[in-house]
């Protein structure tokens, strides 16, 4: 699906509101300030996905979008392995960076992902009047490309271009860099665009 400039702006605004809520929850969990980027919209040919996400190790908490559209695509809380350790160290009061990740880290990451993505989807649902619920979370700590391409492979509608809506959330104090990435199915995207357009007409 190709987006016009107006549609892209509308989605960007939506991402902005969702990410702002997610950033607030992260900030509360860390007890320090979290900055967010302007949401980026990228359409990436699947053969080029590797140039955006390669072999770098990352923790990814993935949620399927459910609700009014049953298989609506995916939302992923993405955090580099290094940032993930800093995040759980901060939360659990530890300092050792050179340690393997354990079950405690995994639970903490799933919980953080759950809280942030729920906040993201709550805010967008409220704005759109369209309910998108997250599935139970699934965590993997692996090569970024391996995980993200697996999600693309199981999208319901077959695609050659992946639409990624991503917002970067950074905590300077603890040097934690993370992203919320949304990969909607075309049908979900069409519905969101329609709702946003109706909203703008109403203004």
């Amino acid at each position: 699906m190709k987006l016009s400039t107006v549609q892209a702006d509308a989605i960007q605004e939506l991402g902005n509101i969702g990410a702002a809520h997610a950033a607030t929850t992260l900030s509360q969990m860390l007890g320090s300030a979290v900055e967010m980027s302007v949401p980026a919209i990228k359409s990436i040919d699947i053969s080029e996905l590797g140039t955006y996400m390669g072999e770098e190790p990352a923790a990814m908490v993935a949620f399927e979008l459910q609700g009014e559209i049953p298989h609506g695509g995916y939302v992923v809380f993405y955090i580099s392995r290094e940032s993930a350790i800093r995040l759980t160290n901060t939360m659990l009061g530890m300092t050792d960076m050179n340690r393997p990740m354990n079950e405690m880290d995994e639970s903490a990451l799933i919980e953080v992902g759950n809280i942030m993505v729920s906040a993201f989807l709550d805010a967008t649902a409220e704005l759109l009047g369209f309910v998108m619920l997250p599935s139970p979370p699934a965590l993997t700590i692996d090569m970024a490309h391996a995980a993200m391409s697996s999600l693309v492979a199981q999208m319901g509608e077959e695609i050659d271009d992946v639409l990624l809506f991503s917002t970067e959330l950074v905590c300077e104090e603890h040097k934690i860099d993370s992203d919320i990435i949304m990969m909607p199915e075309n049908s979900t995207l069409a519905r969101i665009v329609e709702l946003m357009e109706n909203m703008m007409k109403g203004i």
Binding site: D45, I46, S47, E48, L49, G50, T51, M53, G54, E55, P57, A62, E64, S135, P136, P137, A138, L139, T140, D142, M143, A144, H145, A146, A147, M148, S149, S150, L151, V152, A153, Q154, E158, D160
Partner: protein, 163 residues
């Protein structure tokens, strides 16, 4: 111990749905549920590699490297065009993991990809010599046709292997 082979700037990076044929090194990075498939002719030292994403093309023809059912006949055709004989070709594959447990319960694409590749290789009478398939781990695979078709694998958990 043979010398350690590493990808270099001559190495062709094969993205999802792409394929290459030749004697230069080829690489697929970050295989999750995707399959890195190689078909190799040892006497010619020529090989082909594809980065397969899905088992079935359902009639789509625009990206033959993306599907098991279109990629395999195409690699064989390209290899025979380079003078390789069908009966000397051998295949190896890696990938087919299930990266997310929760989503994997009803829809294990990695497993279906691997199964489809095995079936089609059998139909085409190409022996599948070795494989490193499944599990929950991402893999990067490098293929060196000029060096006896050696294949090195690096897994996300830090382990390495050869096929």
């Amino acid at each position: 111990m043979a010398e350690v082979l590493k990808p270099d700037e001559q190495t062709a990076m094969i993205g999802i749905g792409e394929y290459r044929v030749g004697s230069f090194p080829m690489m697929t990075i970050g295989l999750g549920s995707c399959i890195g498939l190689t078909i190799y002719d040892e006497s010619m030292k020529v090989g082909a590699m594809a980065h397969i994403m899905l088992p079935d093309s359902a009639g789509r023809k625009d990206r033959p490297g993306k599907y098991a059912d279109t990629a395999i006949p195409l690699l064989i055709k390209e290899l025979t065009a380079k003078g390789c004989k069908n009966r000397t070709l051998i295949a190896k594959m890696a990938g087919g993991a299930c990266m997310f447990e929760y989503f994997g319960t009803n829809l294990n694409i990695g497993e279906r990809n691997a199964e489809r590749v095995r079936t089609i290789l059998k139909e085409q009478n190409i022996p599948l010599k070795k494989e490193d398939i499944g599990g929950k781990v991402g893999r990067s695979v490098t293929f060196f046709p000029a060096n006896g078709g050696r294949i090195t694998i690096r897994r996300a958990d830090g382990t390495t292997g050869e096929l």
